[in-house]
């Protein structure tokens, strides 16, 4: 058969009633501004690390709102803490501090 390079992507449906939002709730308790994000993507567009490590604040926030903590962690690991995302965020979120807070609370419950 001819291979056109297409395949069926794995299902990405999720049941929002069942996802584990512990991390997101914890984040919102220490960084209430996390709720302000409107997913505009300005942060990702200016991100220094994005092109090389896949970091994107917008995606990180979306992921942990959906309980996809592992995917978010993989991105967070690539952040270079340069702070450009904070400078451009139209909602005035201190994203750099938000990233540091997130890194801090990861694995907190494991302790």
């Amino acid at each position: 058969m001819m291979d056109f390079g297409f395949s069926i992507s794995p299902s990405s449906t999720m049941n929002l009633d069942k996802v584990d939002l512990t991390l997101y709730d914890r984040l919102c308790s220490i960084e209430p501004d996390a709720r302000k994000c409107m997913a505009c993507g300005s942060c990702s567009a200016t991100c220094t690390a994005g092109p090389w490590t896949g970091m994107s604040v917008r995606k990180v926030l979306l992921d942990i709102q959906r309980g996809k903590d592992k995917e978010a962690a993989a991105m967070l690991k690539g952040c270079m803490l340069c702070g450009k995302c904070t400078m451009v965020c139209p909602r005035g979120i201190n994203t750099r501090h938000l990233i540091l807070s997130l890194c801090r609370i990861y694995g907190e419950d494991a302790k």
Binding site: T48, C82, G92
Partner: protein, 605 residues
Amino acid sequence: MIDRFASGFDPFVIPFLIGMAFVLVYCIIGAIRLILQLDAEDKKRFFISLITPKTIWKNLKDLFLNCLIHVKLWKRNRMLGFMHSSIAFGWFMLILLGHIECFIYMPHRVKLFYYPIFFNYFVAENETTIGGSVIFFLMDFFLLLVLTGIVLAIIKRVRSRIFGMRRTTKPSLLDRVGLYSLWLIFPLRLIAESFTAHISGGSFLTIPMNMMFKAFLGDQMNMLPTWWAYSICLCIFMCVLPFTRYMHIPAEMLLIPFRNAGLTIKHARRGFAKAQVYSCPNCGVCIDACPMSVKKANIKDTTVYLNRNIRRGNEKRIEEISDKCLLCGKCTAVCQVGVDGPQMRIAQRSIRNYGLEQDYSGIDITPFKEAVAAEASPDRVLYFAGCMTALTPAISRAMESVFRKAGVDYAFMDKDGGLCCGRPILMAGRFGQARQIIRKNKEIIKASGASTLVLSCPICYKVFREHYKLEGIRVVHHTEYMLELVKAGRLSPDAGSDVLVYHDPCELGRGSGIYEQPRELLRHTGELVEAEQNRDMSICCGGSLGSLTLGFDKREDLTRNALRNLKAGNPETIVTACPLCKTTFAMYSDIPVEDIAETVNKHLK
């Protein structure tokens, strides 16, 4: 001089002896602990410095100039300088002269620890002492000097504005006990010595006082009680000293040799850092200096409060204070004991635990290397704009134009984006991660074959200069580089008539000591006026990446204050040399803000 008492002892010296023994034991144990807390390398450095003639001399000089004369304070504020040096130097001379007196007249008593301190009580004058009148005069003179200092100190406590200080710290309860006992020591000494002046001899202060006492009081009943009071006051002062701001007196004597040994802060709470904390006399000079303190809410986040909270072990406040600071370095520039506010805070940040650590090992730098690769050549220049410049592309465009006009063989390392320089990661206290980035960037730079690395961002500049160790490659900021080109005749900007003011970016000025090059360069392109506070007193634009917690919405007042300072000389344009300053000022300035590269490029044909 002869002994008044065969025993050479009186019970009133006991409080003094207790206080002295306590403070000596406490400080010696403390010093040993701090020295033991240094890591092996620092310990070695410290001990070597103690036996190297050059550092011994420097230690002695610094101890004299800083602890006794307070030269740095004199430079900043003459009234404060006089107040401190009159007390410190006067007291020191009283102690020294007391010992000299003892050596000359009572050599057999020198071994008694308390004897020189209470000399005037234990001796009686006879005809042999006439030659000693010079010493008597000096003793009274230095006592008067100390008393003048004490009067000033009392005035300062009541009205600090007279001394040009808007805000100072509130002393704690123990601080106050220490303060009042310190104030009392010298008047009591004056009274006590006056009571005995007709026996032990005295000079222009004590003799007239003695006559006055005789006229009013008639008997000598009060003699012993005042000597008791003097001794008790000394005891109180020395017993509370370790728990008050006065701990700075012994601590600074350790801090100075530490600093001269070239130590750096390796641990947030131990060794060198601890010596800095204890050396802070809570003078509060750093409060008015701090750019954050234009907002009342930030006053308690200045360096003096960091030191206080570290001493008190208040972890929550330590974290808040450490994270808010802009790391602009101004508090260090004004601090007379040299507490390094920014380094102290970075150290606090570094001992934090993170559940998730950044890891950049997955980044493939081959494409970066290929993009800049070339044969090594002494003329080749590598330009790194930095990630902040990516937000202000006008600067890198201007630099490229300058390079072309000067005919420079250059490669643009991060034209299509690059890695971060590592400084923001360092500022966040993540040293291991910063090292990873530094290693990667270093490989790219090495592959470029360049012999000069030109940077547009002072934040990058500082880290490249201090942490990259690029052997054989010169690291320059574009201000320096453009000036070199002008001097070599490769660029000839035409003179304009613009009135410019230059803003010293924190990381370029205080951080790297570059003050003159940009000014010299700007004089080629226009008329230069100065800001009210400039050079090492320059005010941070407020955009600094140093602060982790200060959101940009809370920085407007800081920026406006810095702008007000810059506009003191009515400039038409604000010129800076940092992409971050430019972005920050441009948000609120009503006159144009540009980078020095843009200014120079405008004036080139």
